[in-house]
């Protein structure tokens, strides 16, 4: 599930549209920023290998309440060399990690009390991947209300030349990422949280602290570029 009051409409292989969302008092809310790492990018068959999240509340990043957990992907699951190099996560590191259901339960518990969740490219990757994992383990596929920071960035900053990737947002807001490692779930969450703070300032100062996507004027979002086979 995405945010229950948000409508998503696929348009083409390159675009989807979102509409019909209103979040008020945005910067005062407790928001759970999250990220997943996985064995690959195919959300229909890959496995989650790491889950991380932390809350932002009242415009402050609460790093002391951060959650991070490696996840055992299941017996017989492989991780390619490319993915190992990208994430730094090897099967050896995962051998004593809990299975997905335990890690997911703990993440939900850590996120409890948040008005909604937010993540980067979650509508295209994290949410379908989570739904696959939940279904695989016979768990209810009910997910918390979730927003995609790509959608939020497009709503606030307009359509970029490419798409509002993490790199583009880091550059746009001159976010300091020193000491943080991309594609480590917790560090990615910290980076996104630092990106969200100036976005929240824009929402507060220029949009009356409200995010509003009208039902009749959908916002076009460029999809993530196709993954090379």
């Amino acid at each position: 599930m995405t945010h229950p009051m948000l409508r998503i409409q696929p348009v083409s292989d390159d675009l989807y549209e979102v509409s019909d969302l209103e979040i008020r008092a945005f910067s005062s809310l407790r928001i759970w920023v999250y990220d997943l790492e996985a064995t690959g990018l195919d959300t229909t068959r890959e496995r989650v290998t790491q889950i991380a999240g932390l809350p932002i509340e009242g415009g402050k990043i609460l790093e002391e309440e951060a959650f991070v957990q490696l996840v055992h992907p299941g017996e017989g699951v492989e991780i390619s060399k490319e993915v190992e190099e990208l994430t730094g996560i090897t099967l050896e590191k995962l051998k004593d990690a809990p299975p997905f259901p335990d890690a997911w339960r703990d993440c939900q518990a850590a996120a409890r009390g948040s008005a909604f969740w937010i993540g980067q490219s979650v509508f295209e990757f994290d949410i379908p991947l989570l739904e696959t994992e939940l279904a695989r383990h016979g768990l209810p596929t009910t997910l918390p209300a979730t927003l995609d920071s790509v959608v939020l960035a497009t709503a606030l900053l307009g359509e970029p030349e490419g798409r509002w990737s993490t790199s583009a947002l880091i550059q746009r807001f001159q976010v300091n990422i020193e000491g943080l490692r991309r594609h480590d779930a917790l560090d990615d969450v910290k980076i996104l949280a630092r990106i969200l703070l100036p976005m929240m300032q824009i929402i507060r100062e220029d949009h009356d602290d409200r995010v509003f996507l009208p039902p009749d004027r959908p916002l076009s979002i460029k999809r993530h570029p196709p993954v090379k086979a």
Partner: protein, 264 residues
């Protein structure tokens, strides 16, 4: 804003809902360990403490009024009361337990069985939907109206997760543009009253405390709430259960749904 017929009651109900909401939000963030205890779990404590907070505010302001609450033992004396507060301190318990932020505090006031005030408060977004007879419905300070959508096949409908998963919505799903699952009956009714969704239907029994506050919000937002068999609810009945089917939203959608559902 115009002078409200129930100004004191609105102020007390909003204050009570906020107080309950703070308690609920605090319990919501409790450590996971305590969620595993069957007894004295945060959900039980949140429900009971929120109920106490609401009853304390209402009793202080209106000591003569009767109260019907999901969390208080029903007192038969309420059937003779002219004024009855109808309360669900935590509607959407399943979502609360799962950490899904779709739960709400619901407070209604019925006068001679007719709803005259409604407050639905969402603790985590801190949004307050409220209204009273003759004054309209508001989301915080902004007036709201039900949706202008006039056809079922253009309507976004809110429904309960459990009714969807049990297949109770299957006979009706194809009538609508989209059916969205959402927790808390009171919250769903408030969202429809605010025009944030077009319509609500339910195929499972509900209690007066689930719907009284939302019913008033719908009436004052230009919509209606009905059980299809008996029409609008007269509250403060001995049997607090309302029987399905139920629908809420703009009158023309309710009429169209009544007609279409009769043939199913």
């Amino acid at each position: 804003m115009m002078k409200l017929e129930f100004e004191r009651e609105v102020a007390a109900a909003r204050k009570a809902a906020r107080a309950a909401g703070e308690i609920i939000a605090r319990h919501c963030q409790t450590d996971r360990e305590s969620w595993d205890k069957a007894e004295d779990s945060p959900v039980t404590r949140a429900d009971l403490e929120a109920n106490e907070a609401i009853c304390a505010v209402l009793h202080e302001s209106f000591p003569e009024d009767a109260i019907l609450s999901e969390e208080t033992r029903d007192a038969p004396g309420r059937l003779d009361a002219e004024r009855l507060w109808i309360i669900d301190p935590l509607d959407g318990t399943k979502e609360f337990i799962q950490g899904i932020p779709e739960f709400a505090v619901s407070i209604g006031l019925a006068l001679g069985g007719e709803p005259v005030l409604g407050v639905v408060y969402q603790p985590l977004t801190r949004e307050c939907y409220w209204g009273c007879r003759g004054a309209g419905t508001y989301l915080d300070d902004a007036p709201t109206q039900v949706s202008g959508v006039g056809r079922l096949d253009q309507a976004v409908v809110l429904s309960s997760r459990s009714e969807l998963s049990r297949g109770q919505m299957d006979p009706y799903k194809e009538l609508f543009k989209e059916v969205r699952p959402l927790g808390s009956v009171a919250l769903k009714l408030a969202l429809v009253a605010a025009g944030r969704a077009d319509f609500w239907i339910s195929a499972a029994p509900k209690s007066e405390w689930d719907v009284c506050g939302g019913d008033l919000l719908l009436r004052e937002a230009g919509g209606t709430f009905v059980t299809l068999a008996t029409g609008p609810r007269r509250y403060n009945q001995a049997d607090v259960l309302l029987q399905p089917l139920m629908a809420a939203g703009p009158q023309r959608l309710v009429d169209a749904f009544r007609e279409r559902s009769a043939s199913r």
